[in-house]
Every structure is written in C-alpha cells, then in structure tokens.
C-alpha cells in the first residue's frame, strides 16, 4: 500500500493506493490527507533533528510539539475526483526559519491522471505546555538544535501572511484566485461538543486535522437542517477544492467549541466560498479562521 516511502531531513516521497482508510464520501478524505501531511511534516522535521517526536525538548526539559499554525491545500479538481484504487504520488520537502519555525510543501498527483493534483503548504512553530492543560501553549525552541533542514534567511510569505492576518494588518486573503474578506459577521452559530475519540491527538491536544472536520460538521448542519436547498445531503453535493486554515489556539477536552459561519458566497462554475471561525466557549478566544472553496459535484 505504501510504496517507496522515504523521508529524509528535507524530503518525502511516497506512492499510495487510495483504499477505504484514505476515503470518505465519494472520494479522497480531507481528514486523512491532513493527517498524512501533518505526520510527514513531523517526520521530516524530526529526521532533520536526528530525533523522534517524543524526545523533542526545550532547554527546560519540557516536551515540545511542532504546533500547526497554518495549512493550505489547493487542488486542481475537488477531492471527490480521486477514486478508489487510484495511485497517488506524494513529494514533499521542508525548510526552517530559525530553530522554531518549519515550513513544508507537498505535491500530490494521480498516477493515472496527471491533471488531478493538489499542493499543500504547512507551517509549524514549536510550543510547550505552560501547565497541565491545553489552554496555554508557549512558543519555544529545541534544545541543542542541530537540524540539517535548510535554514531560510527570511520568513516565507506564507508565514508573513499568517502574521499579518493575526495582527489585522490585512483584511483579505486570496485562495485559488478568489478573495476572501476577513471579518467577523455571523450567518449561523452552533455549539460543537468535542469527540475525544476523534478530535484529540496522541498527546491530548485537539488535533489540527480535526479543526476542518469540526467546521464541516457544523457547516453541514446549517445546509442540511437550517437552509436546506437540496434533495440529498450537502456533503453529497459539495467537495473541497481548496482550504486555508489559520490556527490560533487549542482547548481543553471539557470545553465546547463555538462555530461561526461567517460568510457564504456562490461564485462561478458551481464554486462556493465559505468563511468560518472556531472559538473556545469558556473564554470566547478565537481558535481558528477557516477559508474554504467547495465545488458542486
């Protein structure tokens, strides 16, 4: 299934056959894809440092996590175009800015149909828990950094844009040529109760791959139960074409997430732009901004 997988300090190559674990409704699973990219980002990062993830520590001896702060995927065709038993080729590489920030790029293409391809960009920053919980993760850096991952002399635009959005220096982002205004309008609000069996990763934090799933879950409730315009479920009509997520915070498992659907806009060729936000209910802190393009089947 996993043919010629190879992760060195700076590169990843692998071929996979799309089977049920890689799939969800009618095509490639975005959740699986995020996990795959995330795992291989970590694998390249750790390989470059010559250690494994459980031994990543700062000077104080605290366990470090390469926390995802931004991920962007951009596909030529929506994820439902990738089918069972199709072979997909992955190529990835990683670079770093200083000792704490890592940037990876992945390209995915179908072996059978080259026009089916997808690119992904990921950005992580090392962080450590300030206390026992998940409320506050402090930025940190590895002890004895000896990474062989190529160091950059300037922060990539991908990271700069994240910072500008966080500091409200920019009011829009562009995804696949479509501009998304960044505002706090609320079309629909819903509470989401965390599912520890699914939303939480191996170190007890809300998994970065769970954020879009939580958003999709609440979004589908809106389109299926509140504003239903179809004879079938929303999930059977619209599939992800591109997504950009800015991560700002994690939360305790006992907390509840508040989902805001900020904006929906139908654009040409059956494409819909969706902007959403996730907040912690306990202190109303913004956890993520999610910008999505979905395409009608």
């Amino acid at each position: 299934m996993d043919k010629s997988a190879n992760s060195t300090g700076t590169a990843h190559q692998a071929e996979k056959k799309i089977s049920m674990p890689q799939m969800c409704i009618d095509g490639l699973s975005e959740n699986w894809l995020f996990k795959y990219f995330g795992a291989n980002h970590w694998a390249m990062l750790c390989s470059g440092l010559g250690t494994d993830s459980t031994h990543l520590q700062n000077a104080e001896g605290d366990r470090l996590y390469a926390s995802f702060v931004r991920i962007k995927i951009d596909a030529e065709q929506p994820l439902n175009s990738f089918k069972e038993n199709e072979h997909i080729q992955f190529n990835g590489q990683i670079q770093r800015y200083g000792n704490a920030m890592y940037f990876s790029n992945f390209e995915l293409s179908s072996k059978e149909e080259k026009s089916k391809n997808l690119s992904a960009k990921l950005m992580t920053v090392f962080s450590a828990r300030e206390s026992a919980g998940n409320q506050k993760l402090l930025r940190s850096e590895v002890k004895n950094n000896n990474s062989i991952v190529k160091a950059l002399n300037a922060m990539p635009e991908f990271g700069m844009e994240y910072r500008k959005i966080k500091k409200q220096k920019t009011k829009q982002i562009c995804l696949k040529g479509y501009d998304f205004a960044i505002d706090d309008d609320v079309v629909f609000e819903k509470e989401y109760n965390l599912n520890p069996y699914y939303d939480v990763n191996g170190v007890g934090l809300i998994y970065f791959a769970a954020y879009p799933t939580i958003s999709d879950n609440c979004e589908s409730y809106y389109f299926n139960e509140v504003n239903n315009q179809f004879d079938r479920r929303w999930e059977q009509h619209y599939f992800t074409l591109a997504r950009d997520i800015m991560y700002y915070a994690n939360c305790e498992l006992s907390d509840t997430i508040i989902y805001h659907l900020n904006k929906i806009e139908k654009v040409k060729r059956g494409i819909v732009k969706i902007t959403s936000s996730l907040y912690r209910k306990s202190d109303k802190l913004l956890m993520a901004k999610i910008f999505t393009l979905k395409k009608l089947k």
């Binding site: 700062n58 000077a59 920053v125 402090l138 930025r139 940190s140 500091k167």
Partner: protein
Amino acid sequence: MNNEHVEKLKDILRASLLEEELSINADDHLADELGLDSIGYVDLTVKIELTFGIVLSNRSIRAAKTFQDLVNLVSKHSANG
C-alpha cells in the same frame, strides 16, 4: 552597543512587529505596549542572529521586558562573543 546598533535593533524590532513606522522608546514594554506576539519573538530571535551574529534563546529574549532590556541583552552577548 553604539547608536548605530541601537537603531539597527529598532529596525529589526519594527520588522518583527510589522510596524515599519513605529516610534520606539527605551522603556517601552515589548509585549504589552509594542504588541510583540509569540511568533514575533521567534522572528526577532532569528533576525538578531542574522544581523548581529549572536544566538539568543527564546527564554532569554522573553525575559527582556523592555526595549532597553533587549539592548542590554544584545550588548551582553555581543561583548561575550
């Protein structure tokens, strides 16, 4: 640390704050007053290393509360280097 180096450090800090025109005073608090966020600290650490050739830990740079503390920290490490 001479004035030229202090001005250079101000330029670096402005870039890390994404505030190119900001006026910076010695007693300005980096986080509370100037708004240096967690990734800003990481960026500042890298920029100081690239500009002055000194490696500061995240912990030491976070211990510098004001701009003057930062000047003192860079001066100390420059002298030691």
